[in-house]
Symmetry: C2
Subunit: 201 residues, 2 copies
DNA sequence: ACATTAATTAAACACTGTTCAATTATTAGT
DNA sequence: ACTAATAATTGAACAGTGTTTAATTAATGT
């Protein structure tokens, strides 16, 4: 029996999240089970339920961490290209997002596979993290284009983002046949961004 | 014991698919289990495995049917708007796709939740059905715009499609916060299409 | 040292997909 | 018509899953 003073509640939480991340990255989201995590950290499944409400709750926290990893990467991509034309900044950001998706494939896929069970609402803290993610792109739009209202700019940012994501996601899940070429996706998103910028001017 | 002459192999297949569709539409993809289908049609789980290779195989067939339902709906939307400007035809098609997604929500979501296990390839017959889906949009592009190569037109069609899908999908799965307004999605896709058409001219 | 408190566990429950030997129904052959 | 071969169907089992809870064990306060 693991001694209860081996780890504080916080350490335990960290252990679980680290182990879970390891499993996801090695074997994918579908291999993430309570018993596997427990065995890995030297506890039993029940202990997980002392720290997290459910596997669903744990998944949500893990997805939150993924969002937190992505945010600075995107912001940094924006900043290190800030002297270029807006369409070039956005193209660089799109590539950054794609690279993140490829380098963190399983974590990235997990965010879209996971569905909160029983129609439970996505909690506010998580919606907040998603909203933050649009900020870098919104900043670019704010710096280079004019919008009648904030809402319109937010819509433009989300629209462009969802489009780019849509292309990468369908491509990565094998649902865009005939587009196996490596650069095709880049061409698609580049064209999309160019059109979008033309439309905004 | 169900008598083996109660239903031919074909009838049995039909029974299973009908029952599965019913369960999906009522309770969602996650409620679709072998035992539930079997109980519903008066057989035992094992019989399902005589007709389908696995639950995964059954899911793939069901997704194929969904694609087959969607194709004529889209083609019809194109045809009944053929005298309008290309951007209006495409907007109508986008709305048709959205309506299909809403009216067949669980079936639609299922196509993107399902992941073929064990890195097995998506079979050719399924890839073919996906490819067919892009045909109506490709036709519109062919009738109203000129492309250097067929490949370029295919890429344009897939790119626009994936973008529109990306917007609807993220919206419907609650991953586009701050965009709860009913018409916002329409505005987003309309703007996207207008920009795309501007870019193509 | 003892009583209290709290973490940890083992076991159970109700599920899942899947396999396979045994059973049962149908067909073919005599 | 009766039997032998064949094929559909089943029930039981296996190895999993998330989750709950009573019992156990460890740490703490007195």
């Amino acid at each position: 029996m693991a001694r209860r003073s081996d780890h504080t509640r916080e350490e335990l939480k960290e252990l679980i999240l680290t182990s879970a991340s390891k499993i996801i990255e090695k074997e994918g989201f579908s291999a993430l089970t309570a018993r596997k995590i427990a065995a890995d950290i030297g506890y039993t499944p029940g202990t997980l339920y002392n720290v997290f409400q459910s596997m669903d709750g744990l998944t949500l926290v893990l997805n939150g961490i993924t969002l937190e990893k992505l945010l600075p990467v995107l912001a940094n991509s924006k900043d290190s290209n800030k002297d270029k034309a807006p369409e070039e900044i956005m193209k660089a950001m799109a590539r950054t997002y794609r690279d993140f998706a490829i380098n963190n494939r399983e974590r990235w896929l997990m965010m879209f596979k996971h569905e909160i069970s029983d129609e439970a609402e996505i909690p506010e803290w998580f919606r907040g993290k998603i909203a933050l993610l649009f900020q870098p792109l919104e900043d670019v739009l704010k710096n280079h284009f004019s919008f009648k209202t904030d809402a319109e700019r937010q819509i433009a940012a989300r629209s462009l983002w969802a489009s780019i994501h849509g292309i990468y996601f369908l491509h990565e899940t094998g649902k865009l046949p005939l587009l196996d070429g490596k650069d095709v996706c880049e061409n698609m998103t580049d064209a999309l961004i160019d059109n979008c910028v033309k439309g905004l001017r």
